[in-house]
Symmetry: C2
Subunit: 191 residues, 2 copies
């Protein structure tokens, strides 16, 4: 079974590619193995790649002026991750992307994606539709952040992503939800 199976199925949910288009697409995918705690993106370096996770888990986070970590993305199988701002604008990253587990990812270079999207209409459609969908979910997170209490945010997350909640360290989850690890521990204990 090909390592491209997952991503091609993902694409197939939105558009249908010809065999030739599939070949062109997979040609720009660079399979990479990363070990737990390894950084894929680091502040100061341009995030050249959009990364798709075949197997494993990754988080994107930044360290504020006080040295505290804030997790922006927690990604598992069949998700994309990168420092999006750095990737889209091709400017130096501000965030880290770190493997939470040994992982296998598919990396696609910005220039390659852009070139291919310029040539292949259906791939352009795929990325448009996929990103629009991501965007619509992103608003849900904003709604959670501005309107819900820490406790509500936590249980909402557990409800929505039970696999993730049980798979990542609590301090990572806390930093994703914007809660201190101590508070998250207390929220969990009073249930």
């Amino acid at each position: 079974m090909s390592i491209y199976k997952g991503i091609l199925e993902n694409v197939a949910k939105y558009v249908q590619l010809t065999d030739d288009e599939i070949a062109q697409f997979t040609a720009i995918l660079k399979p990479t193995r990363i070990k737990k705690r390894q950084f894929v993106v680091q502040p100061g370096f341009v995030s050249e790649y959009r990364n798709y996770i075949v197997e494993g888990a990754v988080r994107v986070f930044y360290v504020d002026a006080l040295g505290k970590e804030h997790t922006i993305i927690i990604a598992i199988e069949d998700w994309f991750f990168t420092d999006f701002f750095s990737y889209i604008h091709q400017t130096p990253a501000e965030y880290y992307a770190e493997a939470l587990e040994d992982s296998l990812i598919l990396q696609m270079k910005y220039d390659d994606v852009e070139e291919l999207c310029g040539k292949v209409h259906s791939l352009c459609q795929y990325f448009r539709l996929y990103t629009e969908r991501s965007m619509s979910f992103s608003y849900k997170r904003t709604v959670s952040n501005i309107g819900k209490s820490s406790e509500e945010r936590y249980w909402e997350f557990v409800d929505k992503y039970p696999q993730i909640a049980s798979r990542v360290p609590q301090y990572v989850l806390a930093s994703y939800l914007g809660i201190s690890p101590e508070s998250l521990s207390r929220i969990r204990s009073r249930s």
Copy 2:
């Protein structure tokens, strides 16, 4: 001067359209005038349109179980707005979109946009690139929400969008930043 000037300039920042493509695009834009306090989107109704603001200001917000309003988007000239989740999935909206001022907007129907993006590669490119950029900014807001104090969020907003901060009521801004109106008033007074 055509009312399409703004949106066409926006498109031109990303892609170049032929005259024919421009004609096809503007053909699906429906200019609509809305009065202050008028709703463009309401819970229970599918948000059929993606809306571009030619002139005016609009906010998207929801009302929680306790009757409190939470503002998700504040949009002015040259911005798009809609209940994105409802629009993308074509399911009933959960949010309101309300004019903060008398406004002139361009409405494009979901089906028309999809059909045109299927036919016209460069328009598909435009929406892809535009949405990817929006996405990259959306992460910035998330970073703000999970990592910064109320006070920092407020000053960051004023710094980033001074025109908006001085143009919308403070309780709207407070509900956008996830702060109570009273707290925002106090933040402003101690400066």
